[in-house]
Symmetry: C3
Subunit: 157 residues, 3 copies
Amino acid sequence: MDLQSAQRPIEDLLAEYVHCVDDDRLEEWPDFFTEDCLYRIISRENEERNLPMTVMYCDSRGMLKDRIQSLREANVYEHQWYRHMISAVRVVGETEGVFTVHTNYTVFRTTNEGSTTLYNTGKYVDRVVFFEGGPKFIEKSVIFDTTRIPTLLVIPI
Amino acid sequence: MDLQSAQRPIEDLLAEYVHCVDDDRLEEWPDFFTEDCLYRIISRENEERNLPMTVMYCDSRGMLKDRIQSLREANVYEHQWYRHMISAVRVVGETEGVFTVHTNYTVFRTTNEGSTTLYNTGKYVDRVVFFEGGPKFIEKSVIFDTTRIPTLLVIPI
Amino acid sequence: MDLQSAQRPIEDLLAEYVHCVDDDRLEEWPDFFTEDCLYRIISRENEERNLPMTVMYCDSRGMLKDRIQSLREANVYEHQWYRHMISAVRVVGETEGVFTVHTNYTVFRTTNEGSTTLYNTGKYVDRVVFFEGGPKFIEKSVIFDTTRIPTLLVIPI
């Protein structure tokens, strides 16, 4: 599959992904990833300096499931909703069936009292593989601009 | 028409729709809808609880026209512009020629003194039908996150 | 080339353009334009009234290069990053191989201390020509809503 043919199904994958999170269907979230995968949230600064410090780091689908389970059970954080905007999806390359994709994102956050604020902006750097059932992330790096995160980051971005 | 073929023309419809509103060509706005149609703006909370309370409710193109006319004539609200961003357009299903589409949106608002603020985020749940002249909305539900709306909602979202 | 066939490559051009700016690869920025070109940033109000006053005005690729050079050398402005979101890309017409394109944009800005704010919203009105190597801007008008710009506009939008 060439880069052009991969564009639309990868856009669909990203669209489904953000609707899944925004609709609070978090139990389905790990299914966007392969069994062996990497999901990490890291600041732009740390990424550029090659510093390993991350805000979230999961290297298997099992860890993604654990994270959702603890989020559901602990549940000590303020009730909130995300609204993701994604833009400028660019399939920048492919090596041995793994597509690298850059996408700008913005997350807005609405809390219980109903006010919405800008929560986080940044860039997804994703690695995507196609299977019979469709594409999945083998790696998703959320590289965020906003290092001043007003509250604990609980829900995946 | 299958879901994949419907994707691009529906994206075009949504793009035209938001440019129409943002360009203040509101007289053309009702033409995006069928004669019998439903346009409503409802909070996420009310929608999830199946509460009927809406912020705007029009069930014919005539009512949409009335709304624009009264907006133009009453004109007692502060002069303002919207800027819509739409993202993650998903054609989620089709039944008897009616396509259901989910889209994330953000509306920014600029007032007379020239400052821009985040006004509203949410999700469009649209039902779209194709005619010879192109697709139209038979239903558009604007399901908003932001229940704290700082000023009266006058212009359609 | 008809409008429909031009849609995807023009979307790609815009996506590459915003990633180039957001990644701070500003030395590549002039290459998105033709040798003879027009790049200007103007307020919505001035554009609608046909007033010539602009915030930035460059009418050749050389001037675009000069601008980046002076930005790099002067460097007296606060370190900052942009994050562009683009939406509702509409190829609205074509005349003698020149495509006119309307796109909504939002720019968020992150400063050194790591907080992100809404910086500017508006509309790109672009004129695009296709060459063997791909499409380029012969004209890019950044028509902004936000006249209250909190700090000097240094980086191109």
